[in-house]
């Protein structure tokens, strides 16, 4: 990523519904890494952190709401992280997202990633490069915590995100 560019990572889903909490878990993991990097820099000001994960602003939400248009419009790159029900359990997918108008008849106070990107374009006249990273869920039943399968692919999810921020 070009130095000075801003990035934003939005993890969304319901952390009380098993693997639907993957977005929140990714935000938590990156926040922990950012905290470690900050501590390491404080203890050793000469150290140069290499992880691209040190940079993104982090947001965890249950659903994508219109007000996300504002921070999205102010960043250069946005990465959405969500669970998916398509594909083999644990499969990771990375897709480019383009802004889109709302679906007719859509419930209009929460959006999908393309919709919130489109709303940022409509309200603020700006939208960033955008990706959606999904992990196919094993279970979306009641309960906190990820399934073993999804938990096992978490490091690879972080790798993929790091490459996107690059």
């Amino acid at each position: 990523m070009v130095e000075g560019m801003n990035s934003l990572l939005i993890g969304y889903g319901n952390p009380l519904r098993g693997d639907d909490g993957i977005g929140w878990r990714v935000v938590e993991e990156i926040a922990n890494r950012q905290s470690s990097i900050a501590n390491s820099q404080r203890d050793n000001p000469q150290s140069t952190p290499h992880s691209a994960l040190r940079t993104p602003q982090l947001i965890a939400v249950h659903q994508l709401l219109p007000e996300l248009a504002e921070p999205i419009s102010e960043t250069d790159l946005v990465i959405f992280v969500d669970a998916s029900v398509e594909g083999e359990p644990g499969a990771i997918q990375v897709r480019t997202i383009e802004p889109a108008p709302p679906r007719i008849g859509a419930f209009t106070h929460h959006f999908d990633p393309a919709g919130v990107l489109g709303y940022a374009r409509e309200v603020y006249g700006r939208f960033p490069r955008a990706y959606l990273v999904t992990v196919t869920a094993v279970s979306l039943g009641y309960g906190e915590g990820l399934s073993e399968t999804v938990e096992a692919v978490l490091p690879e999810v972080l790798n993929q995100i790091e490459k996107l921020i690059g």
Partner: protein, 474 residues
């Protein structure tokens, strides 16, 4: 042969419901019903849990207004502990409640209702949505986002996170307010106030275009209920209940929330999971009442803050006695946003707000407790009974949206009678039947304590129950 229209799901509200409209043999509306079709039974689920878990458990009832449940629940737990919550903690809880009301009202007005208000009830549904608002009135769209953010940021600064903060606890709050956070919130006030005033000025220049809707959107006599302080001022956190009738006479005043079973009863309808509370002394259904912004603006003697009081005086001049049209929930909501911003500023300017004594500690000293507060949608009540080990053995929650159930049903009937023609669902009719529900800003997830979002179904039925037309949205 008569028929029935069903609207299922109802859109741009919180939760899942449907509307059925029954036609008579001449094709005129004979009856209309608003059914809430989701069920969760949260009260039952809490049985056996330690009472001190209730604030965080009941906050999970809703992702939109968790703070309202936190507050009502914590106040109920305060009653179980039989402690006096420190003054600073009471004021900090007040600030969080006011921030919650601001962000929830902003969601209702800007995100859910503004497409109808900006683009018109008969606008093409392909354009009647937030994108259409952003295109037609970009400043309004930006103001909505900013006011939502204002409320959410305050909740986050106080509670550490914007959804399901666990900062409000039995006996007070978990930690005091820092000077840095106080100053950060105060710095946001002027911008929020400017946006709220700009919106209400716009709205006052607009709503006269909706004279038909004002006349027919749940515009009928009912009682109005809400909380006031001892002076009769608007009170969102603590106070006692006032009930006013349609001509503006106070029917009951300074009712103690803990005695609610003496003056409030709930009926159960076979076709809805949403109960129908009514004012007990007048019986069912004559005891129909409304709660929430319209009711609060009707019952109070004043708001108690400068700009809101000016707006309130203008609002009250709309009608002698109580303002009856539910269309004016929108107007009332905007006045309350201004009130909340002013009140937050006033509370933060009290030096005592930084006091670090913010919690009282005790073991349970009572086996039963009641807590009430004003949520965005109206009066919210929690009532718990515990055993000697502090475990919940019974819980009852009377939710703001439920309090409006009878009025919402009657409102759907009034709108259907005025706008429904023939045996097919026309778009303008469909939207108006939904829009009358939207004025109440119902939160069905809360009121049935249910899971899920809210699509809407509308059915048009013949007298024999045959479905003549049906629409699904969501």
């Amino acid at each position: 042969m008569g028929s029935t229209i069903t609207i299922d799901p109802v859109t741009r509200i919180e939760g899942h419901s449907k509307i059925t409209i029954q036609l008579d043999d001449d094709g005129r509306v004979a009856d209309a019903r608003f059914h809430v079709t989701q069920f969760r039974g949260f009260e039952k689920m809490t049985e056996g849990r330690p009472f001190h878990e209730m604030p965080s458990l009941t906050a999970r009832i809703c992702g939109i207004c968790p703070v309202s449940h936190l507050i009502a629940s914590a106040k109920t737990c305060d009653a179980l502990l039989a402690v006096t919550v420190p003054r600073t903690a009471r004021n900090l809880r007040r600030i969080m409640n006011l921030a919650q009301i601001t962000q929830s009202h902003a969601l209702s007005f800007f995100h859910l209702s503004s497409p109808d208000l900006v683009l018109g009830m008969d606008a093409d549904p392909a354009k009647r949505h937030l994108f259409g608002v952003a295109s037609a009135a970009p400043q309004l769209a930006q103001d909505g986002i900013a006011l939502r953010k204002f409320g959410q940021q305050i909740i986050e600064l106080l509670g550490g996170k914007r959804i399901h903060p666990s900062w409000i606890v039995p006996g007070g709050v978990s930690h005091p307010l820092s000077q840095e956070d106080r100053d950060a919130i105060l710095a946001m006030i002027p911008d929020a106030l400017k946006r709220a005033q700009r919106t209400i000025d716009w709205y006052k220049g607009t709503f006269s275009q909706f004279s038909d809707e004002i006349r027919t959107f749940a515009n009928f006599p009912t009682l109005f209920m809400g909380m006031v302080n001892p002076k009769g001022d608007l009170s969102m956190y603590a106070g006692r209940i006032r009930i006013m009738n349609a001509v503006g006479d106070i029917v009951a005043d300074q009712l103690e929330p803990a005695t609610y079973q003496q003056w409030l009863a709930e009926s159960v309808e076979p076709d809805s999971y949403l109960k129908s509370p009514y004012y007990k002394p007048m019986g069912y259904p004559e005891g129909i009442f409304r709660v929430g912004p319209l009711a609060r603006m009707n019952i109070i003697d004043r708001c108690g803050t400068t700009i809101a009081d000016q707006e309130w005086a203008e609002f009250r001049s709309l009608q002698r006695g109580a303002v009856l049209s539910s269309f004016h929930y929108h107007y009332a909501r905007l006045i309350e946003i201004i009130y909340c911003i002013e009140r937050i500023r006033n509370l933060l300017n009290d030096p005592d707000i930084l006091n670090d004594h913010v919690r009282s500690f005790a073991e349970p000293n009572a086996f039963e407790g009641v807590g009430m507060s004003e949520a965005p949608r109206g009066s919210l009540l929690h009532h718990y009974k515990i055993d000697k080990n502090g475990r919940i053995i019974w819980a009852n929650m009377i939710i703001a949206t439920g309090n409006n159930n009878l009025a919402m049903n009657k409102g759907v009937y009034q709108v259907a009678k005025h706008f429904v023609r023939g045996e097919q669902i026309q778009e303008g009719m469909l939207n108006r039947v939904e829009a009358v529900i939207r004025t109440f800003d119902p939160c069905l997830s809360c009121s049935t304590h249910a899971v899920g979002q809210m699509p809407l179904q509308v059915q048009l039925l013949a007298p024999d129950g045959a479905i003549l037309d049906e629409r699904f949205q969501g």
